[in-house]
């Protein structure tokens, strides 16, 4: 593991009187797969939103790739989200009336310019070379999530964030998606931060941190 891609110091997020994330000190080395576990309301998604630049903390610092993220203006944050981060949600959030390849091209469009050949290659890499022209409703849950992975990696992010990406999948599909993520991480060398409920899924990571009531309570290295 090389330099730190994420460094937080006293990172806090409150909503009025409620403190969703209590001062958190966290370091994530470049290329690591970090699993974040905790019950509902433990602050997992809040942390993910802060790292993903979707939300701003109430206090503390958040360095991404050595640079303070909080110093950026809205344009800077948008650029960060566009070029630095890829996100996979539990709900796939694919545009229903676009085909798989068009959904991936849409991500290219928001990033820079669409390139169909590249989008096709990305879908081939996630094993969907035969489903390019299918709409989301014509795909299985596992396939939809693989389109999401292709969409998340198409812009070569350095950081891939997953918010329960396998939450809606059966066991077979879950394993398939996680294996795919592992392969892609080796090829593309991005860092994964994945929020999950599932201990078995968390175990695919290099390290797991546990949040409880907004506080980092424990962390452990995976044996895998």
């Amino acid at each position: 593991m090389g330099s730190m891609i994420i460094e937080t110091e006293g990172l806090t997020r409150s909503y009025g009187d409620i403190c969703a994330l209590k001062p958190l000190n966290l370091e994530v080395p470049e290329g690591e797969w970090l699993s974040v576990m905790g019950h509902s309301g433990s602050g997992k998604s809040t942390l993910l939103n802060l790292i993903g630049g979707l939300d701003r903390p109430t206090a503390g610092t958040l360095k991404v790739g050595g640079e303070e993220l909080l110093g950026r203006d809205e344009d800077g944050l948008a650029r960060y989200r566009r070029e630095f981060v890829g996100i996979i949600f539990q709900q796939h959030h694919l545009v229903p009336y676009l085909t798989a390849v068009e959904n991936v091209m849409l991500a290219q469009y928001f990033h820079s310019v669409p390139d169909e050949a590249e989008a096709r290659t990305a879908l081939e890499r996630v094993g969907l070379g035969h489903r390019l022209k299918n709409r989301p409703s014509e795909l299985s849950g596992g396939e939809q999530q693989r389109v999401c992975i292709a969409r998340a990696i198409i812009n070569s992010p350095r950081l891939l964030l997953g918010d329960e990406p396998t939450g809606n999948l059966d066991h077979k599909s879950t394993v398939m998606v996680l294996e795919l993520l592992r392969e892609l991480r080796l090829e593309e060398r991005f860092t994964i931060i994945m929020v999950t409920h599932n201990q078995e899924v968390a175990a695919w990571g290099d390290r797991t941190i546990y949040l409880d009531d907004g506080l980092l309570v424990r962390e452990e290295r995976s044996s895998r």
Binding site: S112, D115, E118
Partner: protein, 449 residues
Amino acid sequence: MTALKLIPHLVAWTLMVLLLLRGFPGRGRGVTLWAVAGFAVGTAGYVLLSRMLPVKIPLEIIRATVGVSFFLLWVVSVGALYRSTVRDFPLFGVQRLMASPFAAWLSAVAAGLVAGGICASRLPGIEGAAAQLLAPLLLALTGALLVFAARGAERRLTSSLTIPPSSLLGALVALLLFSSSSILLLDLFSPLSMKVMKGIHDFVHQFMESILIPDHLFIRPPIWRAIGLLFGKEVGFWGGLVIWFTPAILLLLAVQLEPLPSVAQIRQGAQRRRVQAAAITTKRYRLVIPLLALTILGMAVYQSSFPNVEYWDPKPLTITASPGGELFIPRKGEVPLDDGKLHKYLYKGGGKEVRFFVLTSPDGKLTVDLDACAICKPDGYGQAEGMVICYYCKTLIPLETVGKPGGCNPVPVPFTEREDGVHLDAVTLVNSWSQTVQATIRTGKEMGK
């Protein structure tokens, strides 16, 4: 009133300076200084020349300068298009020249001279030495203040907006044309339209002769009517528009057709796309100025076509002929004929309505002319600023030459001048009108000859 008339010219001048400042980044001081100097000298130069020489001469100098700059724009825009589509297009050191401070200074001073001259031509002829000195002085000062205002405004412009030299020239020339098109004697569009009409007519005629196309006698009327469009009067206007707008369109095309940088060396798709997207964004910003030039040129055409000048255009008085077929206009009627203004009359006879006018020229000679010329549709004439203007083609005819036949001059009518007034023959008048109007309404029937 004068201040109101000056506003569009001063706005154009401010925009010119703003563009110059952005077009020559890092040369702000030089551009400011030379622009102020150019404007002041332009103003003073015009005022001096118009005092020493007939006012037409300094105006003609300005018009020629704007005309030459328009031609230069044509050359540059064609060059720009070639450069973006042909890889080995030679530039003959133009780029090096444009990067030098002299280019910035020269552009600023040249724009200032012409803009100052145009603004000064709008100053009224005031009596009294002090007033004569004060007005140009105030104008030069305003010009200088506006240069500094432009400098302030330029700093607030987004840094993404860059102006390549060709676009800069395009916008500057467009602004000069806009500024000059509102002044009858400086307008270039109307004379251009006339020249284009004649040019296209000659060209098509020669071309058809050269490839031995038969005359209209042998050709199907719909086909001939289509060919005839090229001989119509409108072709001058539309052809003029094409010549007017093409340089700005070529500049737009030059930006649009410029190939994106090769990204084949980059081995990551996202990075490749980012480079392409950045190039596309830059390109879009570079389209802004040619688009602006296009808009300003459009405004110039509008000003030229609908000049904000009040014409003396009296309602024609209906007159009747004596039993012997003679028309008589008394010298000292309701309005005396020798007031130097157009006196329009309407005569109904021989199934025709004939409009004609009587005018006493500045040298005191009476002239009777049809309210129509031998070239244009018979839209008639108005009188403004020491000349008459053909409403159809906007050609200006000095009062001295009214009464002489040819070109767009009103067609003279033979008449007899006596002590009591003007006598003319009704039949001759009607025949003259019929021949003239018939000739100008006919579309190209004569062209094969």
